[in-house]
Protein backbone atom coordinates (compact mmCIF):
# COMPACT_ATOMS: atom_id res chain seq x y z
CA UNK A 1 0.00 0.00 0.00
CA UNK A 2 1.23 3.47 -0.80
CA UNK A 3 -0.81 6.63 -0.43
CA UNK A 4 -0.20 10.36 -0.40
CA UNK A 5 -2.47 12.53 1.71
CA UNK A 6 -2.75 15.53 3.98
CA UNK A 7 -2.60 15.52 7.77
CA UNK A 8 -6.21 16.77 7.86
CA UNK A 9 -7.47 13.81 5.85
CA UNK A 10 -5.69 11.33 8.07
CA UNK A 11 -6.97 13.10 11.16
CA UNK A 12 -10.52 13.15 9.83
CA UNK A 13 -10.44 9.40 9.19
CA UNK A 14 -8.88 8.55 12.53
CA UNK A 15 -11.23 10.82 14.51
CA UNK A 16 -14.28 9.39 12.77
CA UNK A 17 -13.64 5.75 13.57
CA UNK A 18 -11.68 6.00 16.80
CA UNK A 19 -14.55 5.56 19.25
CA UNK A 20 -15.30 2.13 17.79
CA UNK A 21 -11.85 0.86 18.69
CA UNK A 22 -12.06 -1.72 21.48
CA UNK A 23 -11.03 -0.26 24.83
CA UNK A 24 -11.23 -3.41 26.88
CA UNK A 25 -8.49 -6.00 26.66
CA UNK A 26 -10.08 -8.24 24.11
CA UNK A 27 -8.45 -9.44 20.93
CA UNK A 28 -5.40 -7.21 20.24
CA UNK A 29 -6.42 -6.79 16.59
CA UNK A 30 -9.55 -4.91 17.77
CA UNK A 31 -7.31 -2.21 19.18
CA UNK A 32 -6.30 -1.38 15.64
CA UNK A 33 -7.62 0.82 12.84
CA UNK A 34 -7.70 -0.78 9.43
CA UNK A 35 -6.68 1.31 6.43
CA UNK A 36 -7.64 -0.16 3.08
CA UNK A 37 -7.47 1.39 -0.36
CA UNK A 38 -10.42 1.33 -2.73
CA UNK A 39 -9.98 3.07 -6.08
CA UNK A 40 -8.62 6.49 -5.28
CA UNK A 41 -9.84 6.52 -1.70
CA UNK A 42 -8.95 5.06 1.65
CA UNK A 43 -11.32 3.26 4.01
CA UNK A 44 -10.74 3.78 7.74
CA UNK A 45 -12.36 1.06 9.84
CA UNK A 46 -12.61 0.15 13.51
CA UNK A 47 -14.80 -2.22 15.47
CA UNK A 48 -15.17 -3.66 18.95
CA UNK A 49 -17.60 -6.23 17.52
CA UNK A 50 -20.57 -4.36 19.07
CA UNK A 51 -20.22 -1.30 16.91
CA UNK A 52 -18.28 -0.86 13.68
CA UNK A 53 -17.50 2.49 12.06
CA UNK A 54 -16.18 2.89 8.51
CA UNK A 55 -15.38 6.06 6.67
CA UNK A 56 -14.14 6.65 3.15
CA UNK A 57 -11.81 9.52 2.30
CA UNK A 58 -10.53 10.33 -1.20
CA UNK A 59 -6.76 10.48 -1.53
CA UNK A 60 -3.96 9.70 -3.95
CA UNK A 61 -3.44 5.94 -4.06
CA UNK A 62 -0.18 4.88 -5.66
CA UNK A 63 -0.29 1.26 -4.61
CA UNK A 64 -3.28 -0.70 -3.37
CA UNK A 65 -3.28 -2.60 -0.12
CA UNK A 66 -4.32 -2.68 3.51
CA UNK A 67 -2.79 -2.40 6.97
CA UNK A 68 -4.02 -2.48 10.56
CA UNK A 69 -2.30 -0.02 12.88
CA UNK A 70 -2.58 0.24 16.67
CA UNK A 71 -5.19 2.98 17.11
CA UNK A 72 -3.72 4.76 20.09
CA UNK A 73 -0.21 5.20 18.72
CA UNK A 74 -1.38 5.96 15.19
CA UNK A 75 -3.92 8.60 16.24
CA UNK A 76 -1.56 10.31 18.64
CA UNK A 77 1.13 10.35 15.99
CA UNK A 78 -1.23 11.75 13.33
CA UNK A 79 -2.22 14.57 15.69
CA UNK A 80 1.43 15.53 16.04
CA UNK A 81 2.25 15.44 12.32
CA UNK A 82 3.27 18.68 10.60
CA UNK A 83 0.92 20.19 8.05
CA UNK A 84 2.57 18.81 4.94
CA UNK A 85 2.18 16.06 2.33
CA UNK A 86 2.33 12.71 4.04
CA UNK A 87 3.21 9.40 2.43
CA UNK A 88 2.10 6.13 3.98
CA UNK A 89 3.88 3.11 2.66
CA UNK A 90 3.42 -0.43 3.93
CA UNK A 91 6.22 -2.89 4.46
CA UNK A 92 4.59 -6.23 5.26
CA UNK A 93 2.33 -5.50 8.24
CA UNK A 94 4.13 -2.29 9.18
CA UNK A 95 3.79 1.23 7.85
CA UNK A 96 6.46 3.74 7.08
CA UNK A 97 5.12 7.29 7.39
CA UNK A 98 7.16 9.91 5.48
CA UNK A 99 6.78 13.61 6.27
CA UNK A 100 9.15 16.37 5.21
CA UNK A 101 12.51 14.64 5.31
CA UNK A 102 11.62 12.40 8.22
CA UNK A 103 9.93 9.11 8.68
CA UNK A 104 8.27 7.09 11.42
CA UNK A 105 7.57 3.37 11.34
CA UNK A 106 4.55 1.90 13.11
CA UNK A 107 4.42 -1.85 13.60
CA UNK A 108 0.99 -3.07 12.59
CA UNK A 109 -1.13 -6.19 12.94
CA UNK A 110 -1.80 -8.86 10.37
CA UNK A 111 -4.74 -7.42 8.38
CA UNK A 112 -6.03 -10.94 7.73
CA UNK A 113 -7.06 -11.10 11.38
CA UNK A 114 -9.21 -7.98 11.26
CA UNK A 115 -12.93 -8.83 11.39
CA UNK A 116 -14.91 -7.84 8.35
CA UNK A 117 -17.43 -5.09 9.14
CA UNK A 118 -19.78 -6.67 6.68
CA UNK A 119 -22.53 -4.82 5.07
CA UNK A 120 -25.69 -6.79 4.63
CA UNK A 121 -28.21 -6.34 1.91
CA UNK A 122 -31.67 -5.54 3.08
CA UNK A 123 -34.67 -4.36 1.19
CA UNK A 124 -35.76 -2.44 4.25
CA UNK A 125 -34.47 1.11 4.05
CA UNK A 126 -35.72 4.11 5.99
CA UNK A 127 -34.54 7.64 5.34
CA UNK A 128 -34.56 10.15 8.17
CA UNK A 129 -33.43 13.79 8.02
CA UNK A 130 -30.42 14.19 10.32
CA UNK A 131 -31.80 17.28 12.07
CA UNK A 132 -34.89 15.37 13.23
CA UNK A 133 -33.00 12.28 14.35
CA UNK A 134 -30.27 14.21 16.15
CA UNK A 135 -32.81 16.24 18.09
CA UNK A 136 -34.63 13.07 19.12
CA UNK A 137 -31.40 11.39 20.22
CA UNK A 138 -30.39 14.46 22.24
CA UNK A 139 -33.81 14.43 23.93
CA UNK A 140 -33.59 10.78 25.00
CA UNK A 141 -30.00 9.55 25.27
CA UNK A 142 -29.34 11.02 28.72
CA UNK A 143 -32.09 8.89 30.28
CA UNK A 144 -30.45 5.60 29.25
CA UNK A 145 -28.95 3.46 31.98
CA UNK A 146 -25.18 3.55 32.03
CA UNK A 147 -24.40 0.22 33.61
CA UNK A 148 -27.21 -2.17 33.79
CA UNK A 149 -28.05 -5.71 34.56
CA UNK A 150 -30.89 -5.23 32.07
CA UNK A 151 -29.20 -4.50 28.74
CA UNK A 152 -32.44 -3.17 27.18
CA UNK A 153 -32.09 -0.07 29.37
CA UNK A 154 -28.66 0.74 27.95
CA UNK A 155 -30.17 1.53 24.57
CA UNK A 156 -32.83 3.69 22.96
CA UNK A 157 -35.96 2.05 21.63
CA UNK A 158 -36.54 3.25 18.07
CA UNK A 159 -40.00 2.60 16.72
CA UNK A 160 -40.90 3.55 13.17
CA UNK A 161 -44.43 3.03 11.99
CA UNK A 162 -44.95 4.45 8.53
CA UNK A 163 -44.59 8.22 8.92
CA UNK A 164 -44.31 8.18 12.71
CA UNK A 165 -41.06 7.73 14.51
CA UNK A 166 -40.57 7.60 18.25
CA UNK A 167 -37.54 7.20 20.50
CA UNK A 168 -37.88 6.02 24.11
CA UNK A 169 -35.28 5.57 26.82
CA UNK A 170 -35.46 4.76 30.52
CA UNK A 171 -33.23 3.78 33.41
CA UNK A 172 -36.31 2.87 35.52
CA UNK A 173 -36.12 6.14 37.52
CA UNK A 174 -37.07 8.36 34.57
CA UNK A 175 -38.25 7.99 31.02
CA UNK A 176 -37.81 10.18 27.95
CA UNK A 177 -40.09 9.94 24.94
CA UNK A 178 -39.68 11.87 21.71
CA UNK A 179 -41.93 11.69 18.65
CA UNK A 180 -41.66 13.06 15.12
CA UNK A 181 -42.95 12.65 11.58
CA UNK A 182 -40.86 11.44 8.65
CA UNK A 183 -42.41 11.80 5.26
CA UNK A 184 -42.62 9.21 2.48
CA UNK A 185 -41.99 6.16 4.62
CA UNK A 186 -44.05 2.99 4.48
CA UNK A 187 -41.63 0.76 6.41
CA UNK A 188 -41.83 -0.42 10.00
CA UNK A 189 -38.99 -0.93 12.41
CA UNK A 190 -38.75 -1.61 16.12
CA UNK A 191 -35.39 -2.18 17.79
CA UNK A 192 -33.21 -1.15 20.70
CA UNK A 193 -30.06 0.63 19.57
CA UNK A 194 -27.07 0.82 21.96
CA UNK A 195 -26.59 4.31 23.37
CA UNK A 196 -22.95 4.27 22.27
CA UNK A 197 -24.08 3.99 18.65
CA UNK A 198 -26.54 6.83 19.15
CA UNK A 199 -23.81 8.93 20.74
CA UNK A 200 -21.63 8.37 17.67
CA UNK A 201 -24.50 9.35 15.35
CA UNK A 202 -24.94 12.52 17.34
CA UNK A 203 -21.23 13.25 17.04
CA UNK A 204 -20.73 12.40 13.36
CA UNK A 205 -24.00 13.37 11.66
CA UNK A 206 -24.11 16.75 9.96
CA UNK A 207 -27.38 18.62 10.29
CA UNK A 208 -28.07 18.88 6.59
CA UNK A 209 -27.51 15.20 5.84
CA UNK A 210 -30.08 12.52 5.19
CA UNK A 211 -29.54 9.42 7.28
CA UNK A 212 -30.15 6.13 5.51
CA UNK A 213 -31.05 3.26 7.80
CA UNK A 214 -30.84 -0.36 6.70
CA UNK A 215 -31.76 -3.19 9.04
CA UNK A 216 -32.56 -6.83 9.56
CA UNK A 217 -33.73 -8.60 12.69
CA UNK A 218 -30.42 -8.36 14.56
CA UNK A 219 -28.33 -5.60 12.97
CA UNK A 220 -28.68 -2.07 11.69
CA UNK A 221 -26.51 0.12 9.46
CA UNK A 222 -26.60 3.90 9.42
CA UNK A 223 -25.18 5.51 6.30
CA UNK A 224 -24.53 9.21 5.86
CA UNK A 225 -21.98 11.25 3.94
CA UNK A 226 -18.88 9.11 3.63
CA UNK A 227 -19.58 7.21 6.88
CA UNK A 228 -21.22 3.98 7.87
CA UNK A 229 -22.02 2.83 11.39
CA UNK A 230 -23.00 -0.76 11.85
CA UNK A 231 -24.31 -2.04 15.14
CA UNK A 232 -25.95 -4.99 16.76
CA UNK A 233 -29.44 -4.42 18.12
CA UNK A 234 -29.87 -5.05 21.84
CA UNK A 235 -31.63 -8.33 22.51
CA UNK A 236 -34.69 -8.37 24.71
CA UNK A 237 -38.08 -6.86 25.24
CA UNK A 238 -38.34 -3.14 26.04
CA UNK A 239 -40.88 -2.76 28.88
CA UNK A 240 -44.28 -1.47 27.87
CA UNK A 241 -43.82 2.15 28.76
CA UNK A 242 -47.24 3.60 27.96
CA UNK A 243 -48.80 2.40 31.23
CA UNK A 244 -46.11 4.28 33.14
CA UNK A 245 -47.17 7.66 31.73
CA UNK A 246 -49.87 9.28 33.87
CA UNK A 247 -52.94 10.50 32.05
CA UNK A 248 -53.91 13.27 34.47
CA UNK A 249 -52.37 15.51 37.10
CA UNK A 250 -53.31 17.44 40.23
CA UNK A 251 -50.86 20.32 39.79
CA UNK A 252 -49.81 21.96 36.55
CA UNK A 253 -46.98 24.48 36.51
CA UNK A 254 -45.36 26.70 33.92
CA UNK A 255 -41.78 27.66 34.67
CA UNK A 256 -39.09 29.62 32.93
CA UNK A 257 -36.47 27.02 31.91
CA UNK A 258 -33.41 29.13 32.52
CA UNK A 259 -34.45 30.45 35.93
CA UNK A 260 -35.49 27.00 37.01
CA UNK A 261 -32.22 25.44 35.79
CA UNK A 262 -30.12 28.06 37.56
CA UNK A 263 -32.00 27.52 40.83
CA UNK A 264 -31.67 23.74 40.72
CA UNK A 265 -27.98 23.98 39.85
CA UNK A 266 -27.33 26.37 42.73
CA UNK A 267 -29.27 24.17 45.17
CA UNK A 268 -27.44 21.07 44.03
CA UNK A 269 -24.10 22.67 44.89
CA UNK A 270 -24.99 22.11 48.54
CA UNK A 271 -25.68 18.43 48.19
CA UNK A 272 -22.74 17.51 46.01
CA UNK A 273 -19.97 15.39 47.49
CA UNK A 274 -22.22 14.13 50.23
CA UNK A 275 -22.06 10.55 51.37
CA UNK A 276 -25.24 9.63 49.61
CA UNK A 277 -24.91 9.28 45.88
CA UNK A 278 -28.23 11.02 45.41
CA UNK A 279 -28.31 14.72 44.93
CA UNK A 280 -31.66 15.59 46.44
CA UNK A 281 -33.53 18.86 45.77
CA UNK A 282 -36.90 19.66 47.33
CA UNK A 283 -39.50 22.01 45.83
CA UNK A 284 -42.31 23.52 47.84
CA UNK A 285 -44.94 24.70 45.41
CA UNK A 286 -47.34 27.06 47.09
CA UNK A 287 -49.71 29.56 45.50
CA UNK A 288 -47.71 30.23 42.30
CA UNK A 289 -44.36 30.33 44.08
CA UNK A 290 -41.73 27.62 43.85
CA UNK A 291 -39.64 27.60 47.03
CA UNK A 292 -36.32 25.91 47.46
CA UNK A 293 -35.05 25.81 51.04
CA UNK A 294 -32.11 23.56 51.46
CA UNK A 295 -29.21 23.15 53.79
CA UNK A 296 -26.33 20.79 54.28
CA UNK A 297 -23.08 20.78 56.23
CA UNK A 298 -21.75 23.04 53.46
CA UNK A 299 -24.31 25.82 53.73
CA UNK A 300 -27.86 26.90 53.10
CA UNK A 301 -29.96 28.16 50.19
CA UNK A 302 -33.34 29.82 50.11
CA UNK A 303 -34.90 30.76 46.76
CA UNK A 304 -38.30 31.70 45.43
CA UNK A 305 -39.33 31.65 41.78
CA UNK A 306 -42.61 33.02 40.52
CA UNK A 307 -44.42 30.46 38.40
CA UNK A 308 -47.83 29.90 36.85
CA UNK A 309 -49.78 27.34 38.83
CA UNK A 310 -53.03 25.45 38.25
CA UNK A 311 -54.28 22.98 40.84
CA UNK A 312 -53.18 22.08 44.33
CA UNK A 313 -50.01 22.95 46.25
CA UNK A 314 -47.42 20.25 46.52
CA UNK A 315 -44.03 19.54 48.11
CA UNK A 316 -41.91 17.25 46.03
CA UNK A 317 -38.28 16.02 45.98
CA UNK A 318 -36.18 14.96 43.03
CA UNK A 319 -32.68 13.85 42.22
CA UNK A 320 -31.35 17.24 41.08
CA UNK A 321 -29.24 15.72 38.33
CA UNK A 322 -32.33 14.22 36.71
CA UNK A 323 -34.06 17.62 36.70
CA UNK A 324 -30.97 19.38 35.36
CA UNK A 325 -30.64 16.78 32.58
CA UNK A 326 -34.03 17.61 31.09
CA UNK A 327 -33.77 21.37 31.58
CA UNK A 328 -30.53 21.34 29.60
CA UNK A 329 -31.99 19.74 26.49
CA UNK A 330 -35.25 21.66 26.30
CA UNK A 331 -34.92 24.57 23.93
CA UNK A 332 -38.22 26.32 24.55
CA UNK A 333 -38.34 29.28 26.89
CA UNK A 334 -40.78 27.67 29.30
CA UNK A 335 -41.35 24.20 30.62
CA UNK A 336 -44.57 22.59 31.81
CA UNK A 337 -44.42 20.46 34.92
CA UNK A 338 -47.33 18.21 35.84
CA UNK A 339 -47.33 16.66 39.30
CA UNK A 340 -49.74 14.45 41.23
CA UNK A 341 -48.63 14.52 44.81
CA UNK A 342 -45.20 13.74 46.23
CA UNK A 343 -45.07 10.08 45.17
CA UNK A 344 -46.44 9.89 41.63
CA UNK A 345 -44.29 10.46 38.57
CA UNK A 346 -44.03 14.02 37.38
CA UNK A 347 -44.26 14.91 33.69
CA UNK A 348 -42.04 17.60 32.16
CA UNK A 349 -42.73 18.90 28.66
CA UNK A 350 -41.60 21.88 26.62
CA UNK A 351 -44.28 24.55 26.32
CA UNK A 352 -46.18 24.26 23.02
CA UNK A 353 -44.37 21.10 22.01
CA UNK A 354 -46.52 18.02 22.10
CA UNK A 355 -43.85 15.72 20.72
CA UNK A 356 -41.69 15.40 23.79
CA UNK A 357 -42.18 14.31 27.37
CA UNK A 358 -39.93 13.41 30.26
CA UNK A 359 -41.21 11.42 33.16
CA UNK A 360 -39.48 11.58 36.52
CA UNK A 361 -40.31 9.75 39.70
CA UNK A 362 -39.95 11.85 42.86
CA UNK A 363 -37.65 10.67 45.65
CA UNK A 364 -39.42 9.23 48.66
CA UNK A 365 -38.26 11.06 51.72
Amino acid sequence: MKIICSKDNLLLGVNTVQRAVATKNTMPILQGIRLRTEGSSLWFEATDLEIGIRCNIPMEVQEEGEVVLPAKLFSEFVRKLPDTDIILESIDNNVNIHYNKSNFVINGYDPEEFPEITEFTSADIIEIPATIFKKMIRQTIFACAVEETRPVFTGILVHVEKENISLVSTDSHRLAHSKAMISDNDKEFKGIIPSKTMQELLRLLDDNEILTVQYNSSKIIFKFGSCQILTRLIDGQFPSYKQVIPQSCNTKLLLNCKNFLDTVERASLLSKDNYLKINNVRFNIEDSILNVNQYSEMGKISEQIEIEQEGENVAISFNAKYVIDVLKIIDTENIIMEASGPYSPCVFRPENEEDYLYLLLPLRN
Partner: protein, 103 residues
Amino acid sequence: MVGQLHQAITEVEENLSRLLNEVKSLRQYIEYLEDENINLKRQLCAVSEADINRIQKNASKIQKEAHENLEKLYEQGFHVCHIYFGEQMESNCLFCNAFLRKD
Protein backbone atom coordinates in the same frame (compact mmCIF):
# COMPACT_ATOMS: atom_id res chain seq x y z
CA MET B 1 -104.14 -67.38 3.04
CA VAL B 2 -105.49 -67.03 6.60
CA GLY B 3 -102.30 -68.66 7.85
CA GLN B 4 -100.23 -65.99 6.07
CA LEU B 5 -102.30 -63.18 7.59
CA HIS B 6 -101.83 -64.73 11.05
CA GLN B 7 -98.12 -64.81 10.49
CA ALA B 8 -98.06 -61.11 9.44
CA ILE B 9 -100.09 -59.94 12.45
CA THR B 10 -97.82 -61.87 14.80
CA GLU B 11 -94.80 -60.11 13.26
CA VAL B 12 -96.40 -56.69 13.64
CA GLU B 13 -97.28 -57.54 17.24
CA GLU B 14 -93.71 -58.51 17.97
CA ASN B 15 -92.35 -55.34 16.35
CA LEU B 16 -94.74 -53.16 18.29
CA SER B 17 -93.88 -54.76 21.61
CA ARG B 18 -90.14 -54.28 20.89
CA LEU B 19 -90.74 -50.64 20.08
CA LEU B 20 -92.80 -50.27 23.24
CA ASN B 21 -89.96 -51.69 25.27
CA GLU B 22 -87.53 -49.24 23.68
CA VAL B 23 -89.87 -46.34 24.43
CA LYS B 24 -90.14 -47.53 28.03
CA SER B 25 -86.38 -47.63 28.51
CA LEU B 26 -86.04 -44.20 26.90
CA ARG B 27 -88.63 -42.84 29.30
CA GLN B 28 -86.65 -44.25 32.22
CA TYR B 29 -83.52 -42.56 30.93
CA ILE B 30 -85.33 -39.23 30.51
CA GLU B 31 -86.66 -39.51 34.05
CA TYR B 32 -83.15 -40.17 35.30
CA LEU B 33 -81.84 -37.10 33.44
CA GLU B 34 -84.67 -34.96 34.78
CA ASP B 35 -83.92 -36.06 38.33
CA GLU B 36 -80.27 -35.31 37.87
CA ASN B 37 -81.09 -31.88 36.46
CA ILE B 38 -83.29 -31.07 39.45
CA ASN B 39 -80.56 -32.29 41.80
CA LEU B 40 -77.95 -30.11 40.18
CA LYS B 41 -80.24 -27.08 40.28
CA ARG B 42 -80.88 -27.72 43.92
CA GLN B 43 -77.15 -27.92 44.64
CA LEU B 44 -76.56 -24.67 42.85
CA CYS B 45 -79.28 -22.91 44.77
CA ALA B 46 -77.76 -24.22 47.98
CA VAL B 47 -74.91 -21.68 47.50
CA SER B 48 -76.66 -18.78 49.11
CA GLU B 49 -76.23 -15.09 48.39
CA ALA B 50 -74.36 -14.89 51.68
CA ASP B 51 -71.91 -17.55 50.53
CA ILE B 52 -71.28 -15.72 47.30
CA ASN B 53 -70.63 -12.49 49.18
CA ARG B 54 -68.34 -14.26 51.60
CA ILE B 55 -66.32 -15.79 48.73
CA GLN B 56 -66.05 -12.46 46.93
CA LYS B 57 -65.05 -10.65 50.11
CA ASN B 58 -62.44 -13.25 50.83
CA ALA B 59 -61.00 -12.94 47.32
CA SER B 60 -60.75 -9.15 47.55
CA LYS B 61 -59.26 -9.47 51.05
CA ILE B 62 -56.59 -11.79 49.71
CA GLN B 63 -56.01 -9.38 46.84
CA LYS B 64 -55.80 -6.45 49.22
CA GLU B 65 -53.39 -8.30 51.48
CA ALA B 66 -51.25 -9.27 48.49
CA HIS B 67 -51.23 -5.65 47.35
CA GLU B 68 -50.33 -4.45 50.85
CA ASN B 69 -47.54 -7.01 51.03
CA LEU B 70 -46.19 -5.84 47.69
CA GLU B 71 -46.43 -2.23 48.85
CA LYS B 72 -44.56 -3.15 52.05
CA LEU B 73 -41.90 -4.91 50.01
CA TYR B 74 -41.56 -1.77 47.85
CA GLU B 75 -41.34 0.45 50.94
CA GLN B 76 -38.60 -1.79 52.27
CA GLY B 77 -36.64 -1.18 49.08
CA PHE B 78 -37.40 -4.17 46.90
CA HIS B 79 -38.72 -4.17 43.37
CA VAL B 80 -42.22 -5.50 42.83
CA CYS B 81 -42.33 -4.84 39.09
CA HIS B 82 -42.00 -7.71 36.65
CA ILE B 83 -38.67 -6.39 35.37
CA TYR B 84 -36.70 -6.61 38.60
CA PHE B 85 -39.10 -8.46 40.92
CA GLY B 86 -37.53 -9.16 44.31
CA GLU B 87 -34.26 -7.37 43.61
CA GLN B 88 -32.98 -4.65 45.88
CA MET B 89 -33.89 -1.20 44.60
CA GLU B 90 -31.79 1.93 44.34
CA SER B 91 -34.00 4.88 45.34
CA ASN B 92 -37.19 4.21 43.33
CA CYS B 93 -38.68 2.57 40.24
CA LEU B 94 -41.15 3.86 37.65
CA PHE B 95 -42.36 0.38 36.83
CA CYS B 96 -43.01 -0.59 40.45
CA ASN B 97 -44.80 2.72 40.94
CA ALA B 98 -47.01 2.16 37.89
CA PHE B 99 -47.74 -1.42 38.97
CA LEU B 100 -48.81 -0.43 42.49
CA ARG B 101 -50.79 2.54 41.23
CA LYS B 102 -52.71 0.53 38.66
CA ASP B 103 -54.17 -1.98 41.16
